[in-house]
């Protein structure tokens, strides 16, 4: 089948929105609303936070300055959106066959009718995955909680900011070694979760909207622990702890755990391994400028330009993360 003649297109502002929005908003965390999202951040956004003890009763007509104890004080956290760009070159031959098969078989009703849009959507899905991982672990290494050896370096993720504010965290449980699906006091996932909930600030413990964020691997370990599969006896005589519990059929081959001690368990795709977080989604922010005019998308089919059977996809947008109040977070992370 002869190749179709594809026109070159460059889109800016509102015209680029379908492509850029699809690339950013398709991220697992953003699409499911696991964190709060600001879609019109030009460069920076100020996140107000309230700190203090209580609001004093209004029993007189006097105005008391904020310097007095008991007054409500304000703090702020600045969310900075970093300018990002996507430069991808796709071999048309690699995708054309897949696209044509979908068109012929009508396997996917949402597949675009033209190959150029299909390529753009393919690149957008890859960009969405990259946004997802950077959102959580951008410039963060989960092996030791360092900030300079991270796999994803497009922009600082939420765990990067958590480590930056480690001195102000509500609870910072540092553990050594990776999580395991047993009752080990230093590595067991159940042990860590119990410590996370037990040591969280009382305001977080009583927050009905607080969630436990963990990676999908950690969720897998949790399911194993709940099912009793991961309980490996050190030796045949070890009958302590969960080792004597045996298998729990409801967690074997069935749905994964969705809650722990009353808190919803959420496993975003980009959450780093060996980390646990107990927080309200309104403490975690992702900002982008997709609703502004400062976005751009270009789809260049170079078949008729240079002769290369490739399509280049170019996107420009901004993205960034920030936590509002470290004191409202309880975390368990691996530090070595």
């Amino acid at each position: 089948m002869a190749n179709a003649s594809i026109a070159v297109g460059t889109y800016k502002g509102q015209m680029a929105l379908p492509y850029v929005a699809a690339a950013v908003l398709s991220a697992d965390t953003i699409a499911n609303g696991y964190v709060s999202v600001l879609e019109n951040v030009h460069s920076k956004a100020v996140l107000r936070k309230f700190s203090g003890t209580e609001i004093k009763a209004n029993d007189d007509c006097a105005f008391e300055s904020s310097s007095e104890s008991g007054r409500l004080t304000l703090g702020e956290a600045v969310l900075e959106a970093i300018a990002l760009k996507v430069n991808e070159q796709i071999c048309n031959a690699d995708l054309r066959a897949t696209w044509e098969s979908q068109q012929i078989r009508s396997q996917n009703a949402g597949a675009p009718a033209d190959f150029t849009t299909y390529v753009a959507q393919y690149v957008a899905s890859k960009v969405a995955e990259n946004v997802e991982y950077n959102l959580w672990q951008g410039n963060f290494d989960s092996d030791d909680s360092s900030l300079d050896d991270g796999t994803y370096t497009s922009f600082d993720g939420l765990w990067h900011h958590i480590v930056d504010e480690e001195a102000n965290l509500g609870y910072d449980g540092n553990v050594a070694n990776a999580f395991t699906a047993d009752a080990n006091a230093s590595t067991g996932i159940l042990t860590h979760l119990d410590a996370l909930v037990a040591n969280a600030p009382s305001a977080v413990q009583s927050d009905g909207n607080a969630n436990i964020y963990m990676s999908r691997k950690s969720l897998f370990l949790l399911q194993r622990a709940m099912a009793g599969i991961g309980i490996f006896q050190a030796n045949g005589s070890d009958t302590t702890g969960y080792a004597a519990a045996g298998y729990s059929p409801e967690f074997v081959g069935q749905a994964r755990p969705t809650s722990f001690l009353g808190f919803n368990v959420i496993a975003p795709a980009g959450c780093p391994n060996d980390t646990l977080m107990l927080a309200n989604p309104n403490q975690l922010y992702f900002g982008t400028n997709i609703l502004t005019d400062h976005i751009q998308a270009s789809i260049l089919d170079l078949t008729g330009v240079t002769g290369d059977d490739v399509t280049r996809v170019i996107m420009q947008f901004s993205g960034g993360t920030q936590i509002v109040d470290a004191g409202s977070l309880a975390v368990v992370r691996r530090t070595s």
Partner: protein, 219 residues
């Protein structure tokens, strides 16, 4: 205050002085026929050669037509051309008792007085009636005005009712014409358009989300 006093008060207000006088015709002789008609003559009595006539309401003398006429007392006169009496035949006189001539004289005097009264053009009662009418007119003008207003209202009511009747009849005519018209086709039922359900991104994989968001923002 009786009517006489009210009348006198009105007279005093408008300086009206009325006098009732009785005029009698002493020069003419008159007689009543058996049918009650009164005939007259310039002579002292009805005799041969005198003219007999009657007086109409306008006071005009009309000569009697030729013929025989019988008086109430039985006297018969024969009238020729021009109302001239040709003969007078007195009735049979019967012997009356001694008191009869006195009674006859009294009756004659009474008849004469009656005749005089009947000969008056305007009687006292008639004057009183006219005065009362004038009094009513000037004493209570409001009643007149109210009567006139009521009459006008009644006339207006009659006009309005006639107008309403005309309008009602025209409305009925229009209604009957409308009823005779063919029914309209009426409203056409339009099936409600199917609203696209919002896409739940939570149940989609990344590729499907990209397509859904791209399609949403491409609209």
């Amino acid at each position: 205050m009786n009517i006489t006093e009210r009348v006198q008060e009105v007279f005093n207000r408008f300086n009206v002085n009325l006098e009732v006088t009785e005029k009698t015709r002493t020069e003419m002789a008159e007689a009543a026929l058996d049918n009650g008609t009164v005939i007259y003559t310039d002579a002292e009595a009805f005799a041969e050669g005198v003219e007999a006539f009657i007086i109409n309401d306008e006071g005009e003398r009309i000569p009697l037509p030729a013929g025989d006429y019988t008086f109430a007392d039985g006297t018969v006169i024969v009238v020729g051309e021009g109302g001239v009496v040709q003969s007078v035949t007195a009735p049979e006189v019967e012997e009356a008792p001694a008191e009869a001539p006195a009674e006859v004289a009294e009756l004659a005097e009474e008849d004469e007085e009656k005749k005089k009264e009947e000969m008056n053009y305007v009687t006292r009662e008639e004057v009183e009636e006219m005065v009362m009418a004038a009094i009513q007119k000037y004493m209570d003008p409001k009643e007149e005005e109210e009567k006139e207003m009521e009459e006008e209202k009644e006339e207006d009511k009659e006009k309005m009712s006639s107008q309403l009747v005309e309008e009602l009849s025209s409305i009925k005519a229009e209604l009957s014409a409308i009823k005779k018209q063919a029914a309209s086709t009426g409203l056409k039922h339009k099936a409600p358009s199917v609203k696209p359900e919002p896409v739940n991104l939570k149940n989609l994989n990344t590729q499907e989300r990209v397509q859904a968001i791209h399609n949403q923002f491409s609209k």
